[in-house]
Each structure stands twice: as structure tokens, then as C-alpha cells.
């Protein structure tokens, strides 16, 4: 029998016992709804966490370091950390090459410095970090006061709210009246009204920082001396001559006036190695232009970094377009002679956790579907008993055993498909209700709304497919029983 005829006959049979078949289909729908609701919850939670991490830039960011001084966060990286003095420097040429790699969205140095910040006669000592334009996606900026930087190198800053409060606090609020103060620890910030915070926007602060100015080596005659031998004494002060590959720079005090354009409540992610404790943020390109002396500058001095000329970086942050491209990009960077670090392993662990969570949710959700499948078995067995005469007649008219089996399979499959579709709709409605209820609670807690339950396309297709598969499995026994019916006996006695 052709498929469309089978479908027609199955549909006719299902309509003939519409009440019973509807109840059975509803049972499947409830089972699928339970499964869908559970897995939607898992998918929603996974998405919530992944989205947070993704927007934080953690999962598509790679830290790049020169091979000679890498002090990574992973033990296995650290074990191989013998200093390689011939390692390739992380300089401008390297930065250009890294930028040209496929999948790389942006490459920027880590800007991090300690500065004095003056505002209306007060000076606070704090930490400043550079932010790349892509940091705009970070959720820390979602509900900020003011706005993000107007351009990649604008003379603008964004303040952490704690620091903003410190700027606004009375001079004696933190217990002393010295003109130079350090920002008080978090959680110990003075009370400042929202209006006062808003009033900071558009005002200017002055950044006092040390600019690094490269200077040429002072003793050119020292070039003939082998590097392995101790340098001879030079001059009455007893100072040593500089080695051939020495880096020499001066630190000059500078001031830069910057406009406050935003205030954020949460700390954004601003680099792979550190950043989250900064209180003042400026555009990373501006940070580069300022050429500040950073803690890493001293390390450059001590390690006498060889460079092709110009600037070297202690670390570069590489952002790729897709977390899946992190590993290939890391491999390419390693081939270029650099050390890398990413949170890929952390991602894998997170995914493993969610796979296990989804598995358990699916098991619990499937229980109802298994119970529903028993309903299908019951309905179809009853149907076989009621339709013995019809089955016998079909066989007498030329239906094969396979035709009879297929007829019952199609009936089971149709119930599964309808039940699955209805179940997905029910599951979606349950998910919406959970989202609605959760967001009412979050609103009362003055927290932003979240999508706790998510119904992805794969789950819709998968749930309907699973319902059909379970229904077909449930149809095996009744279909076999129908196919086994002896038409002679049936037609004689029915």
C-alpha cells in the first residue's frame, strides 16, 4: 500500500475513535511538554551563563605573551617556563602579523597603570585600565550611567561607581584630610545620591601619570664586551656600563585632562591577565598614545627585551570572532613563537557541566513520555482487539502482514507527531509562565529581567522527533499483534 493511502486509512481510523485517541495524544503531549519544559530550562540556564561569559569576552579572547617571560595561569604552561632569551619579542611587527591572522577581530595591548586622579582639588591614587571598543558588548555597560566612549581614542573616561562616590565624598569622609588619598576598599564607600553621580557626567578629571620616553644607551663603547662576562666598573660613581641590548627609558610626569562620560556599577572584563580591580577606564588607543610607564615597563628594563626597534608589549589581547576559532588561532600564535592563554578549558568544563545537567533534566522529563508511551500501547492494543474483523478483511482483500504493521505504525506515529507538536506548544507555554513568574520576582528584587527558559529550534524538532520515535516503539507490539491475526479465524468468528 502506498504511503498516502496508509496515511489516509490511519487518519480515518484515528478519527473513528477520536475521543480515545485524543486522550492518548494528550498523554503524549503532556509527556513531551514535561520533557520540553525541563530541557528548555537547561537550555535557558546554559544560554544565560554562556551569554554572560560570551559578552564578557572571556571565551573569545586569547592572551599573547612572549615566550621568554610567560607566567600563565596554567600549571603545565608554567612548568615549561624556562626563560628563553632568544624568544621572539612581542613588538609592533608581531602585533601587525597577529592582526592579519584569520578570525582575529582586534589586537590591543594591555594598558594598566597606577595614577593619581585629581578632581575639584582632591587627588586620589587608583588603578587605570584600557578598554577596547569591543568591550562595549560587556554587560557592565548595559545599564551604565552616561555612555560608552565616543571614539576609540577619545579623551574620555568611565568610572567605577565606587570611585565616583569617592570623588564626590567630603574630604574627611574616609577618615583623613590628606590631599593624596588612596581609594577606600570596596564596600566602604560613602553615601552619594544618584543625582550627585549623574552630576559627575561631563565633568573633567586630571590624570597624573608617568610617560615612558625611550632614551638611547649611554655607553656605545661597551658593545665589544661579551655579554656573559661581568661588566667592568665605569666612572667614579661605580656605575656599570649598559649592556648591548639594554633598554633605557625615562619616566616623565604628565597630566591629561579627561571627560567623565560614564559610570558603571559592575567591573568589566578588560584583559586576559588582570583588570577587574581598576576603577578608572579609558579607551585603549588613548592609553597607547599616552605611552604610560606601567608596572611591566620595569620588567622590560630588567630583562633588556630585544626589540626590532620601537615599542614592545608585555601582553597583547587577541579577540577572535567566534569562541570556536580560539583553538586554531592559539595554534597559529604558538607557531609564530608566542605563548598563549585562553579560557577554552574553562569553557569545556562548563559545557560538560551543562551536558550532565541536560542529561538529568532529559531523564526526568522523559519519565512522563515513557508513561505516555504505555498509553499508546494500550490504545493500539485495544484498537487491534476492536478492529479484528477489519484487519482480517484487509488481509483477505490482499493486505500483507507488512501493510497491517505499517498501518498501525502510522497510527502510532501520527499520535506521536500530534502529541509532540502539542507538547512542544505546552512546553513553550510552561516556559513562558516560568519566565513570567521569575521576572516578576526579579522585578521585586530590583534585578534585571532574564530569559530563564529558552526553546531553541533543535529542541522543537528533537522533541517532536523523539515523541514520534517513542510512539513508533510503543506501536511495535500492537502492530505485530495485528499482523499476526489469522484472517480465517477472524472472518469466521467475528
Amino acid at each position: 500500500m502506498k504511503s498516502n493511502d496508509l496515511l489516509e486509512l490511519a487518519g480515518r481510523n484515528l478519527r473513528e475513535s477520536s475521543f480515545r485517541n485524543s486522550l492518548t495524544t494528550l498523554g503524549v503531549a503532556v509527556g513531551v511538554a514535561s520533557l520540553v519544559a525541563m530541557l528548555s530550562l537547561g537550555a535557558g540556564l546554559q544560554n544565560l551563563v554562556s551569554d554572560r561569559f560570551s559578552r564578557s569576552g572571556l571565551f573569545n579572547t586569547i592572551g599573547v605573551f612572549t615566550a621568554r617571560d610567560f607566567r600563565g595561569m596554567q600549571q603545565n604552561e608554567r612548568r615549561g617556563g624556562v626563560m628563553d632569551t632568544k624568544a621572539r619579542p612581542l613588538d609592533l611587527q608581531a602585533r601587525t602579523e597577529i592582526s592579519a591572522l584569520p578570525d582575529v577581530l582586534e589586537v590591543y595591548p594591555e594598558i594598566r597603570m597606577l595614577t593619581d586622579v585629581s578632581f575639584q582639588g582632591r587627588t586620589l591614587f587608583t588603578s587605570v585600565s584600557g578598554l577596547s571598543p569591543s568591550a562595549r558588548q560587556n554587560e557592565a555597560f548595559e545599564k551604565m550611567r552616561g555612555r560608552f566612549f565616543s571614539s576609540p581614542d577619545a579623551d574620555e573616561v568611565i568610572l567605577h561607581v565606587d570611585f565616583a562616590r569617592d570623588l564626590l565624598a567630603p574630604a574627611d569622609a574616609s577618615g583623613d584630610a590628606l590631599p593624596l588619598q588612596t581609594a577606600p576598599p570596596r564596600g566602604n564607600t560613602p553615601e552619594v545620591s544618584d543625582a550627585q553621580l549623574d552630576g559627575l557626567l561631563g565633568k573633567e578629571i586630571v590624570l597624573h601619570y608617568g610617560e615612558r620616553q625611550e632614551t638611547p644607551p649611554a655607553t656605545p663603547g661597551a658593545s665589544s664586551r661579551p655579554a656573559s662576562r661581568p661588566p667592568p666598573a665605569a666612572g667614579p660613581a661605580g656605575a656599570s656600563a649598559q649592556p648591548e641590548d639594554a633598554v633605557s627609558f625615562s619616566v616623565v610626569r604628565r597630566e591629561k585632562t579627561l571627560r567623565i562620560v560614564g559610570i558603571i556599577d559592575n567591573e568589566p572584563y578588560a584583559g586576559i591577565t588582570a583588570s577587574s580591580t581598576a576603577r578608572v577606564f579609558l579607551p585603549v588607543a588613548l592609553g597607547e598614545k599616552l605611552r604610560p610607564a606601567m608596572p611591566s615597563s620595569l620588567r622590560d628594563l630588567m630583562q633588556a627585551r630585544p626589540s626590532a626597534g620601537g615599542e614592545t608589549y608585555s601582553a597583547l589581547i587577541v579577540r577572535v570572532d567566534d569562541p570556536a576559532r580560539v583553538q586554531p588561532t592559539q595554534d597559529a600564535l604558538k607557531k609564530m613563537g608566542f605563548r598563549t592563554f585562553s579560557l577554552l578549558d574553562a569553557t569545556k568544563s562548563l559545557r560538560r557541566v551543562f551536558v550532565i545537567l541536560d542529561l538529568f533534566l532529559a531523564i526526568f522529563g522523559s519519565v512522563a513520555l515513557v508513561v505516555a508511551s504505555l498509553g499508546i500501547v494500550n490504545t493500539l492494543v485495544m484498537s487491534v482487539l476492536e478492529r479484528r474483523r477489519e484487519i482480517g478483511l484487509l488481509k483477505a482483500l490482499g493486505a500483507s502482514d507488512a501493510d497491517v504493521k505499517r498501518l498501525f505504525f502510522v497510527e502510532a506515529g501520527v499520535m506521536g507527531a500530534f502529541g509532540g507538536a502539542l507538547g512542544v506548544a505546552l512546553g513553550w507555554a510552561i516556559g513562558r509562565a516560568i519566565n513570567f513568574g521569575t521576572n516578576i520576582y526579579l522585578t521585586r528584587q530590583e534585578l534585571p529581567h532574564e530569559t530563564i527558559v529558552l526553546l531553541p529550534l533543535w529542541l522543537i524538532g528533537g522533541a517532536v522527533g523523539f515523541a514520534v520515535a517513542v510512539s513508533l516503539a510503543a506501536g511495535i507490539y500492537p502492530a505485530a499483534r495485528a499482523a499476526r491475526l489469522d484472517p480465517v479465524q477472524v472472518l469466521r468468528y467475528e
Partner: protein, 247 residues
């Protein structure tokens, strides 16, 4: 007595050779058919008669390919049904034989045309051909005007005619009728027998009819085969007839 000697095996529509169908009922062995040899020629109209339990319906079911012999052979158009797979038997029932039953066995929720279309669905006849074939079959049994009715809206005679239309629609070469008048009054019974005889004549269709009514068989059939306790008994002859030769 019909001993199965055939005039021409090549012209035999149905041929049984030492056919046995035994089955167990509890401890005892029931010999529903026990060594029946029989040959029915193409186009012949044969009545199988006998008392209840004589084996006539069993023989009909074996001819239809609904059952398999315990031993012996049963052939239709030269093909041994006992050696066929279940798929081949299903194909045999779809294309070679048409069956009608005492209880009509129409699908109660289907209209007459849907009932008649059912064998066409099973035989995978293209959809565009079906309406015309259904119309012709219903026309042949005089029920074209009732095509949209359900079986419950028809008399017993009309239901049996609809069942005949269903049996004819796949153009079988053999029509097997199991007590076709058993549920009908004498008038309707006679009508059905006339219809079957007319189909036999006009379509050159071999007809095997099971009945326990000897008079009806004698009036209708060209040849009457009597079964008793699973064996062939004396075959009654009409004046001027030879056994096994159609009128």
C-alpha cells in the same frame, strides 16, 4: 465423485492434489480436509456443498491463499499456493481472486465507493484510475446511485452486491463466494445468485461458491462438488452432463 482427474491441466484455474488441512484442537487432531483432489476449469461455475464442518470453507480459504495446506498441493493458474511466501499470497489475494462473504464484511464507516476502492488502494492502483474503476464496478452490480451511502443505509441484498463490486474491482480471474446468500431472504438470495451467474458468463470468471443449500447449488452451478468429513463425496450429475465439464 470428482477424483481430480483433469481434462487439461493447462486449462485448470484451480487444481488440488491430495490436499490435506489438519489442525489440533486440544488433544485431538481435526482433519478439516483429508486428501482432496479436484480440478476446476477456467470459467467454470462450481458449487461446494456439504454439511457444516465438511471442509468446504476450509477448501475455499486454501484456494484464496488465506490458509496453507498441511500437505498436498493447491494450485491456481499453475502456481502452487503452498509454496508461496506470505507476500506472494497477499499479491494472489489482491490480483487473482476476489472474495465475498456471508456477513458481507463491508467497512461500516466507509461509503460504498470507499469500500469498493479499498482493494485498489491495497493493489497500489494509481489514484486517477480509481474513480472510473469504482464507478464501473458499482454500475455492474446496479449500485451506482448508492455510491455515497454507507453500508448501514442499504438492504442486505444491496450490501452483498456492494461486496461483489468490491470483489470485482481488481478484475480477478477467480471469484470465491463463502455462503453469499446465507444472510439474505430467498428473493435477495436468488438475485445475488443471478448476478454471480451473469458475471461468470459475461466476464468468463471462474466462480467457486460455498453453500449448504443443495437446491440453490443445483440451480445455479454448472458443477456441484460435495464434501463430507473433509473428503470429496459423490458428485451429483445433471442429465446429459459429464463430470468436470462446464455447461
Amino acid at each position: 465423485m470428482d477424483n481430480g482427474n483433469s481434462n487439461s491441466p493447462a486449462g485448470a484455474a484451480i487444481r488440488a492434489e491430495n490436499l490435506c488441512r489438519h489442525y489440533r484442537m486440544g488433544e485431538s487432531l481435526v482433519k478439516a480436509l483429508d486428501g482432496v483432489s479436484l480440478e476446476i476449469h477456467a470459467g467454470q461455475r462450481v458449487a461446494l456443498v456439504g454439511a457444516s464442518g465438511s471442509g468446504k470453507s476450509t477448501l475455499l480459504h486454501l484456494m484464496a491463499g488465506l490458509d496453507r495446506p498441511t500437505s498436498g498441493t493447491i494450485e491456481t493458474q499453475g502456481r502452487n499456493l503452498g509454496a508461496m511466501t506470505s507476500l506472494e499470497l497477499a499479491a494472489h489475494r489482491r490480483s487473482t481472486v476476489g472474495m465475498i462473504f456471508q456477513a458481507f464484511h463491508l467497512m461500516p464507516r466507509m461509503t460504498l465507493e470507499e469500500n469498493v476502492e479499498l482493494p485498489l488502494r491495497l493493489a497500489e492502483v494509481p489514484r486517477q484510475e480509481r474513480p472510473e474503476r469504482v464507478r464501473l464496478a458499482l454500475e455492474r452490480v446496479g449500485l451506482r446511485a448508492r455510491a455515497g451511502h454507507r453500508p448501514g443505509e442499504l438492504s442486505g441484498g444491496e450490501q452483498q452486491r456492494a461486496a461483489i463490486a468490491r470483489a470485482l474491482v481488481n478484475r480477478p480471474s477467480i471469484l470465491l463466494a463463502d455462503e453469499p446468500t446465507g444472510n439474505l431472504d430467498s428473493h435477495n438470495g436468488a438475485e445475488i445468485m443471478r448476478l454471480i451467474a451473469e458475471l461468470n458468463s459475461s466476464m468468463r470468471m471462474t466462480v467457486v461458491l460455498v453453500t449448504h443449500e443443495q437446491n440453490l447449488a443445483a440451480e445455479f452451478a454448472q458443477r456441484v462438488v460435495v464434501l463430507s468429513d473433509g473428503r470429496l463425496a459423490e458428485e451429483p450429475r445433471r442429465a446429459g452432463e459429464q463430470a468436470g465439464v462446464p455447461r
